[in-house]
Symmetry: C2
Subunit: 427 residues, 2 copies
């Protein structure tokens, strides 16, 4: 007991020191030249390539330990690193280096009648805490995005990937050192102790400005419920495709299939198909046949069940379920208002789509569905920072504060006002 108390006191002191060092590094990073940040990213990419064998070896130990514990295959697959995955991380850092610098952008300028020129300029947020599961590549992605946006990062990866994270983090530090930037600009919780997560969620005595969780629903739920600092995240991606009365069947078929089946495990994958009653007679059966033919299980309301014996009944719960799998829930709705009402009731304000040739209906859907991303006639799988042209993203946020939708380097900035006068005083 005494020992564990001492250990936890030590950890608290260590994490607090990490926080203070990150805060100091954030100040340096905020003022760093773009060239220095880019040099660090490029040097880190080189270090990843040079250290590939060591990273793979560290990862093998993580992997074998996890496999010996009988960890699920999907988990093991995310954990595993090999040459191509390390190369992808290195390339990712170089891509981030190639993005325009998000700090110092002039977001607005206005001149007041008294001659004051007021400029709104992008500044970093400060210190970003990143809490993720055993996907070691997040170490490089998140560290790189924070660095580019002038923010210090405190990374806390899953305990099963501890050695992998450590090896990748060492390369990031090598990059920082090569560029003359403080090593504390990207730091790492030095422990697998879960208490470190709680300390980060409490904000490390004001050292952390925002938390970004990367991982499954239970991680995000814990972070959202416990964090005492702002969180950029989404809990669910209950994504709808609504096939409106005036939808072209071929366009609908293409968009529904791609939205659901291109990749079923991403947050922008469709989970519910709403078909307007007005086109159900012509569109429902072909859409269901397309989905079934592609290997997607279909759960439907009575009308949907009637079109194919392989359709199983959808329960109330299905309308609020994110399957992240080759399963879709299908429902007939009575017109645009009913579709919007369904999305608002069961959706997660992430990404939703209308398929229609009717301009007015499309625009009403775009205006009235309160989701981070609303599309007309395009696959929901475009819900992605890269597809938006933001470069890499640290995640997709469904909150309404600060960042909403894909969170790229621009969304990792704040701003301040710089006011230039020539002696003005206020009457």
């Amino acid at each position: 007991m005494t020992l564990s108390l001492a250990a936890s006191t030590d950890l608290a002191a260590e994490m607090a020191a990490l926080g203070r060092a990150a805060r100091a590094a954030a100040r340096v990073l905020a003022l760093a030249r773009p060239e220095a940040k880019n040099a660090a990213l490029i040097a880190a990419a080189a270090a990843l390539r040079q250290s590939a064998a060591g990273i793979v070896a560290a990862n093998r130990r993580d992997y074998e330990e996890a496999a010996a514990r009988g960890t699920a295959p999907a988990f093991l697959d995310r954990l595993k690193l090999d040459g191509p995955r390390i190369e992808a991380m290195a390339k990712g850092l170089e891509d981030i280096a190639a993005l325009p610098d998000p700090v110092g952008r002039t977001l607005a300028t206005f001149t007041r009648p008294n001659g004051l020129v007021i400029e709104r300029v992008a500044t970093p947020l400060g210190v970003v805490g990143v809490i993720y599961e055993s996907r070691p590549n997040v170490t490089a992605d998140a560290g790189g995005l924070c660095l580019k946006s002038g923010n210090a990062a405190i990374l806390r990866g899953g305990s099963e990937s501890f050695r992998s994270t450590q090896a990748i983090h060492a390369c990031l530090v090598e990059g920082l050192r090569a560029a003359g930037l403080p090593e504390a600009a990207i730091s790492r919780a030095p422990t697998t102790d879960r208490a470190a997560v709680g300390m980060m969620l409490a904000g490390l005595d004001g050292a952390i400005d925002v938390i970004v969780p990367r991982g499954g629903k239970s991680l995000v739920a814990r972070v959202q419920s416990e964090a005492r600092v702002p969180v950029f995240a989404h809990l669910d991606g209950i994504v709808h495709v609504y096939v409106h009365a005036a939808a072209d069947l071929e366009v609908a078929r293409r968009i529904v299939l791609n939205s659901k089946m291109r990749r079923t495990g991403v947050c922008g994958a469709a989970e519910t198909l709403l078909v307007d009653r007005a086109c159900a007679a012509t569109h429902l059966a072909p859409l269901v046949a397309t989905l079934l033919g592609a290997g997607c299980a279909v759960r439907g309301d009575a009308a949907t069940q009637a079109v194919d014996p392989r359709v199983t009944p959808a329960s109330e719960e299905d309308w609020g379920t994110e399957y992240l799998d080759a399963i879709i829930a299908v429902k007939i709705v009575d017109g645009l208002d009913a579709a919007i009402a369904h999305v608002e009731r069961y959706g997660s304000h992430h990404t939703d789509c209308i398929v229609t040739r009717d301009e007015a209906a499309a625009e009403r859907f775009l205006a009235e569905v309160d989701s981070a991303i609303v599309l007309r006639n395009a696959s929901t799988q475009f819900a992605d920072g890269g597809e938006f042209g933001f470069g890499a993203e640290i995640g997709i946020a469904t909150g309404r504060m600060h960042a909403r939708g894909p969170v790229g380097v621009e969304q990792l900035t704040s701003f301040n006002y710089r006011v230039r006068g020539d002696g003005q005083v206020r009457p």
Copy 2:
């Protein structure tokens, strides 16, 4: 005990119902036409004028009760309403109506190589909780700003102004009704029970998106420490004017005097004067004389004490004190770096100013001082949404999330992405 438990259960149920009604109203407001919102504001202004006698009578009862309890004169002054103050509230609502509508603005548009057109559009935040002290005019200001920005508001004014708040709120509801908008769009905690504040800070079961506190430091501190939802606020306004080596004395004199003495009780009032050692021989004595001559008490370091016997010694505590009074702390600093370091160490990241004719020094100060508002050669009292051209402001925020600096109607909005395609799917 049973009774008070029952009462608190009742209050919790009542507040939760208020939250649900506000959330439903927010959905209606988000889609309301600008004309409807403006009609409500104008009708509310008319109702205030028509009800002026009743408001003054309600206020008199609040005032007499507070005065009988021996409440401080400054508090009583803020509580008091009369004809001109009611007219100012009504005019304030009309001014808000005249602002451009902040909802639906296109913030950015970009076309992707695949032809997708992605638009970022301003949307309301949702439900804003406003917690304020006994300044009944905040009822109209905050209610009006939330309405204009398409947000539902839940107002909780100080208990000493309960009747005044109720009377003003009734006029806002009259305006909403006249415009066909839901009355729950601006609601009011129906009690002086402080437990209602705690419930709002907990977010009313997810019904409140953001809290805005309006009042003194103890209120803001409580809100910041207890809120489980984002807060737009500043705790302190420890505002600096730095007179650089290359400052014109007359410009410095005018800016220092205005920054400190125009109004001493506002958050943008200067609290500390930093004078560069390089110009102290010529500038310090005249600046101190100007301040003393204007009735400002001066607390200074040794050099400042040496220029006038009326200067009293400044202690370490003075550098971190927001006087909100005719008192200033004065210190000699060794150059620009020392000035910036002082501001970063003791400041509150609110508003800071450099006075100089040196372009490079001015720009370094603007770039390196991490405050919401940084000025060169202009009074710190310009730290005000009206002076920035934002129209009215609900407050000034020093946090880095979402809103920073003056929080006007534009800062009370979020955004979403509206994506227009013609059948694009993701490869």
